[in-house]
């Protein structure tokens, strides 16, 4: 369940993903028009991945504390930067 106590964990997971993604030089937002852009950025999808993964860990109470929030944030940023394009490649639109 989302409670007041673990809302803080969600803030930490977002902050952690944001900081690591900035260090990895991901752009903050996709280029315009955003709805047609395939660029991987910080707001979309890094933060979405971080929150989604942390929700899984938090719901199943695998290891839900501040450290796991930081680790999930770091993992999400690294995943977005280096693995996402390999796991789910952009289609060949030509």
């Amino acid at each position: 369940m989302i409670t007041t106590a673990n809302v803080l964990s969600y803030v930490i997971v977002v902050a952690s993903a944001l900081i690591v993604a900035l260090i990895l030089r991901l752009p903050l937002l996709p280029e315009k028009p955003m709805r047609q852009s395939w660029t991987i950025s910080i707001i979309f999808p890094t933060i979405i991945i971080a929150i989604g993964l942390f929700a899984i860990i938090n719901y199943f109470k695998v290891y839900n504390n501040i450290y796991s929030a930081i680790i999930i944030g770091i993992f999400s940023a690294i995943f977005s930067k280096y693995l996402l394009e390999r796991a789910f490649p952009k289609p060949d639109l030509g």
Binding site: M1, R35, P45, I48, G52, A55, P91
Partner: protein, 168 residues
């Protein structure tokens, strides 16, 4: 709240949620894949609007805000908390990437639905009402009479400045 009223309110909210997000994200502008284009042309041939047809085709061919709304409702119900909606948003995003779609419509649809279900839970509308409501909402667009619904979507799209830009 009486269940029928709750389902009706949930259906209206789901309809507005997915139609507005899908139009805003440009579904009527162009078909994402060839299949969506074929559906759009077929609806136009039967007296419908091309933009509305592309909208229907894109909904069929990848998980857009309609699927995001339905999956977020299901996940919210299954997990019994808003975390279900957040998890649904993640998997809708991965599903979008597999379906040659950047994923903005589906993911934002799932997230806005999660917020809507959470807010309406305070007036007694349950996630299961949203599941039924979304099925009914999708039925009105995809299952009743394409020429009329596509014209309505086309008109809304032009008002929101999302005209057909790619006619292939």
């Amino acid at each position: 709240m009486e269940e029928i009223i709750a389902i009706f309110i949930a259906a209206v909210l789901s309809w507005v949620n997915f139609v507005l997000i899908d139009i805003w994200m440009g579904l009527p502008e162009a078909p994402g894949v060839k299949g969506a284009g074929a559906i759009g042309k077929s609806i136009e041939k039967r007296g419908g609007d091309l933009g509305g047809g592309f909208f229907s085709g894109n909904i069929v061919c990848s998980p857009d805000a309609s699927a995001g709304t339905l999956l977020a409702s299901c996940a919210y119900y299954a997990f019994g908390s808003p975390e279900g909606g957040l998890i649904a948003a993640l998997f809708v995003y991965f599903g979008n990437r597999i379906c040659a779609d950047p994923g903005y419509a589906g993911t934002s649809g799932a997230l806005t639905t999660t917020i809507l279900i959470w807010l309406t839970s305070f007036i007694g509308i349950a996630p299961q009402n949203f599941i039924v409501g979304m099925v009914l909402a999708a039925l009105t667009i995809q299952g009743l009479y394409h020429p009329v619904t596509s014209k309505l979507i086309g008109k809304m799209a032009r008002k929101m400045n999302r005209k057909v830009i790619q006619d292939n």
